[in-house]
Symmetry: C2
């Protein structure tokens, strides 16, 4: 129980609730946006993959701007509050398999609380 | 710490992350949608109100369909995973003041895990 929960709160409705930023900004915006990096199609892939694996208590949700645009594409997974950067379907497959299915972490793609730019191993070229 | 968290997970990026369903379905859809119940304008109100109260570590986010359409408008607040139904600005003001600012609960508007339809006290007429 986190320090924000109360003993009488209802049981979780979803075991894991994944929010994928699919925000689209006008062309040329200095912060960029997850949509321009392909987040909508990638979110659809994540949804299909979670379904294929039979992860029924997991909800893959689209969301508006999560406001960590410089680190996009980004997702936040609750209730644990773990954030990831991803570029490719393979990144999402790894997050689904490792985090959602096995309850572990994908260290390479995880975002730290203070992080303001991608680490070298998180850049698209390194991931290919 | 919930049983999904790990000791080495980063500290929360937002103290409270609120997801407001703003999904819009085609007219006449049997499940309805939060957007038809005014969720977009109400979400803007919630965002303004949180800002006015100086709740800086709180993020009010738009989200796609949270899939509890029959209970809409709905919001989910993480990491605590508490869900609310709301109809009016006054409902949202109460949630912001009571839940987000004071760390309590608005029992009248809270959704239980198994709930499939609104309780009498949650119907719009009762709230007015």
């Amino acid at each position: 129980m986190s320090n924000r929960e109360k003993p009488d709160d209802p049981a979780p409705y979803y075991e894991a609730h994944v929010f994928c930023c699919t925000n689209k900004r006008p062309a040329g915006h200095p912060r960029g946006c997850c949509s321009d990096k392909g987040s909508e199609a990638l979110r659809d892939h994540m949804k299909d993959k979670a379904r294929a694996l039979g992860l029924k208590k997991v909800r893959i949700n689209a969301s508006g701007c999560l406001d960590r645009c410089e680190l996009g594409c980004t997702i936040a997974i609750y209730p644990e509050g773990v954030w990831y950067h991803y570029d490719t379907r393979a990144d999402l497959d790894e997050i689904i398999e490792t985090h959602l299915k096995r309850g572990k972490r994908v260290e390479r793609l995880m975002l730290t609380t203070e992080q303001e730019e991608l680490r070298p191993e998180q850049l698209a070229e390194a991931a290919e």
